[in-house]
């Protein structure tokens, strides 16, 4: 069951979503990789799903006015914590995806906490 820990977090707004066009997927089998850009206030999260060595990975880069460090919690749909990683100096993080499904990311920065919901991996 999903915990209610994130209910008070602000939700990141999806700004741009690009993925293999259906026609291109049909014709060229590009796979289900995608790239999304989220925004909360002046924070931008550039999140991509990439397949490396047949393993799907979420690769993110947080762009903030002042890089102050922080943590990323990778949460399953039922609320279970899968992994918690510290943001690198460049604001980058990399998370292996265990299986297809829907996930959430909780971002904890020094001055801000927000959640990225419905990160779909198929």
């Amino acid at each position: 069951m999903m915990t209610d820990k994130t209910y008070n977090h602000r939700e990141a707004i999806l700004v741009i979503d690009s993925r293999g066009a259906l026609s291109a997927v049909r014709n060229h089998s590009l796979g289900g990789t995608w790239s999304k850009l989220y925004r909360v206030d002046n924070h931008y999260l550039d999140l991509s799903l990439k397949v490396e060595n047949a393993e799907p990975h979420l690769i993110g880069k947080l762009v903030t006015p002042i890089q102050t460090g922080g943590w990323v919690r990778f949460v399953a749909c039922d609320g279970g914590l899968l992994q918690e990683v510290e943001l690198g100096a460049s604001g980058m993080f990399r998370l292996p995806v265990p299986a297809p499904g829907v996930y959430h990311l909780e971002m904890s920065l020094s001055d801000q906490q927000f959640v990225v919901r419905s990160v779909d991996v198929y």
Binding site: L14, V15, S23, A24
Partner: protein, 668 residues
């Protein structure tokens, strides 16, 4: 749970009501109400009935599958719509709904109802309650989740949210039983609407694929964009092509016609499109690279589909809206992809058709229209409704076979390429040039009555005669023209008359005669000049069987030469029309050109010039040249004969020898 077998009050105590009600048997009236509107209305009607029949149930939600993997919220009851915003919540993937369902996978697929007491159901589906969505139920709550299954696949999910006392297992079972009665109707309505929507898309796509070749492709594309805008719920659409770093609009429809919406495609977005990715921008105003003028104009969301096709430039289909979060749903995205593919196919087909038409109507060597194009255009002229003057000029290259034989086919082809380039680049606007075959060319010239056909044709001849074949040889051109309606009463006769004229000109030029044979009667012979040179030259012309017109040119050039040398004075009685003057001047241009031994390459030198050379040399010899004593007739003839084949045309020298008696008489 208490009251396991309790039947809901309203379901237990059916009463006469004007409102449709749920029952174990679906009434004809309910069916009639459900079928009276669209699927959306039927969904809402069903939820309203549930809330009315089940006191304590506060809210109802119906999720319906809209693609292979996602469900969208199609109806809500007991909640103000505004809480979900104008577009409602985003679609959720099936696994989210499945995770929120407290039963097993088998129960999910079988469509078994399950109750839970874990707070509001939406917090598990959406992970949060929408802003302003406060729980209205005090105390403990219960959620009923009822998957609606058909053919072992869940096609919709019903959520009821109630106070804990309002629903128990028995009532959940009854709800499931009752919903099972209307679910097939709801599903059929929904599938029918989806099929109708799909049918409209397919109709639009088929219309595009069948677009008439008689009208511009852009109009067909615009129709398709208008349909795509309407069916996808967008407000505007645009089809663009990438041309290097520039973007060209091919067609557009709907809102934003004056707005450079395509400017929203930044370099990064352009790269994604070129790599075959589609791009959705639900909040363009939050996009870091947004253009202020587009946001100020109201642009809020875009969906961009790449169209990648070999043979034409990359292009993209844009759909956009002034509403935040507008993006086509998964099914619409798929249909849009089909339309984008159709756009690509149609553009490739038109591109190929254009190339085919170009190849079918173009001479590949010169780039001019070919004979097929010429015949087609003549036919069009015959069927036209206006009465403008039409001049058909036929051109034939003189001695082109000799150019081929002397310089080779590659060089000759270069001459033709140069000719084609000249005609294409220097032709008057609107004049059409064709290569009819070999060294035959045609020009169709349309103009007003002020057009001077002769001057225009001669201008083209002069243009082509600028083409250098070798160091001292230029292209020579015979031409004929005919004018509608002056020369011929109908367009069909133009070709025949122009052809006749061209062959007459060709014959005259082969005989070193000028073009104006048809007008020769207008020019009286020059009889006023009787110098020895004039008499000998005229006699030679007669011996060489010169036509009257060519003879006039010989006489005129002789007259001009002696005038220029100060040997005679201008005679007022001599008529010298412009055409005659020009031909005579052309003869004088060649009068110093020596015979070079090759008959075939002399095609450009008028025969009158050869005659004048010999006659002038003979008369000068009799008078004494460069301090030498005057020669006798035989001596002069022998001198000239020695230079035959080297300096003088041997045919003319022979003709001079043949008039030995005449020369005696002239000398006497």
């Amino acid at each position: 749970m208490s009251g396991q077998n309790r039947i809901p009050r309203r379901l237990r105590l059916a009463r006469v009501s004007s409102e449709p009600r749920l029952g174990q048997v679906v009434s004809a009236r309910l069916i009639e109400r459900l079928l009276s509107g669209g699927a959306g209305q039927a969904f809402e009607l069903t939820l309203e009935m549930l809330l009315r029949e089940l006191p304590g149930v506060e809210q109802a939600f119906l999720w319906v599958r809209d693609s292979l993997n996602s469900f969208s919220l199609q109806a809500v009851c007991g909640v103000p719509n505004k809480l979900f915003g104008q577009e409602g919540p985003e679609a959720v993937v099936e696994s989210v709904l499945r995770q929120a369902y407290p039963g097993t996978s088998e129960e999910w697929q079988a469509g078994n109802p399950r109750l839970d007491h874990e707070g509001h159901i939406l917090t598990r589906v959406l992970n949060t309650l929408p802003a302003g969505f406060e729980q209205s139920i005090q105390g403990s709550v219960v959620n009923l989740t009822l998957p609606l299954s058909a053919n072992r696949q869940v096609w919709a999910v019903l959520h009821l949210h109630a106070s804990a006392q309002a629903l128990n297992e028995a009532e959940a079972g009854l709800v499931a039983q009752n919903i099972a009665g209307v679910a097939p109707i709801l599903r059929e309505l929904y599938l029918r609407e989806a099929a109708e929507r799909q049918s409209l898309w397919l109709e639009a796509i088929n219309t595009l694929l069948r677009v008439s070749h008689e009208r511009p492709l852009e109009l067909g594309l615009q129709d398709a964009l208008e349909e795509a805008t309407r069916l996808s719920g967008a407000e505007g659409a645009r089809l663009i092509a990438f041309e290097g770093h520039a973007i060209r609009i091919i067609a557009q429809a709907g809102w934003g016609s004056g707005l450079p919406v395509e400017a929203a495609i930044t370099r990064q977005i352009g790269e994604r499109l070129r790599s075959g990715q589609q791009v959705g921008i639900p909040r363009y105003d939050l996009y870091p690279g947004h253009r202020h003028e587009l946001v100020e104009a109201g642009l809020r969301s875009l969906f961009i589909l790449p169209i990648l096709r070999q043979g034409i430039e990359a292009s993209a289909l844009l759909l956009f809206s002034t509403q935040q979060h507008w993006l086509p749903d998964a099914q619409t995205q798929e249909l849009l992809s089909d339309m984008a593919a159709a756009v690509g196919v149609v553009r490739v087909e038109w591109s190929l058709r254009r190339e085919l038409a170009w190849a079918a109507y173009t001479d590949p060597l010169t780039g001019l229209g070919n004979r097929r194009a010429f015949e087609r255009d003549l036919e069009k002229l015959a069927n036209r409704t206006n009465d403008r003057m039409v001049v058909l000029v036929l051109l034939d290259l003189d001695g082109f076979k000799a150019i081929n034989d002397t310089f080779g086919h590659v060089h000759a082809d270069h001459v033709l390429v140069r000719l084609g380039g000249l005609l294409r680049s220097r032709a008057r606007a609107g004049d059409r040039a064709y290569r009819l075959g070999g060294d035959e060319f045609a020009l169709i010239i349309e103009g007003s009555s002020t057009l001077n056909p002769s001057r225009t044709a001669e201008r083209y001849r002069a243009l082509l005669e600028e083409i250098r074949v070798s160091d001292n040889t230029y292209l020579r051109v015979s031409l004929g023209y005919a004018v509608y309606p002056t020369d011929v009463p109908d367009i069909e006769s133009l070709w025949r008359i122009a052809d006749d004229q061209m062959y007459k000109d060709k014959a005259l030029r082969k005989g070193r005669s000028p073009l104006f044979e048809a007008k020769q009667e207008l020019f009286p012979p020059i009889t006023q000049v009787q110098t020895p040179l004039f008499r000998i030259a005229s006699r030679l012309g007669e011996v060489l069987n010169m036509e009257a017109a060519e003879l006039r040119v010989l006489q005129a050039s002789c007259y001009l030469l002696q005038l220029a040398l100060g040997e005679i004075e201008a005679h007022s009685g001599v008529q010298m029309p412009d055409d005659l003057l020009r031909e005579a001047a052309r003869v004088l241009m060649f009068v110093q050109t020596p015979w070079n031994g090759s008959q075939s390459l002399q095609a450009g030198v008028p025969r009158a010039a050869r005659v004048l050379q010999v006659a002038q040399r003979f008369t000068a010899a009799l008078q004494g040249i460069e301090g030498r004593a005057p020669r006798g007739i035989d001596e002069a003839l022998e001198d000239i004969a020695r230079e035959a084949w080297r300096r003088f045309d041997p045919v003319v020298v022979e003709a001079l020898r043949s008039i030995r008696d005449f020369l005696d008489e002239s000398a006497a």
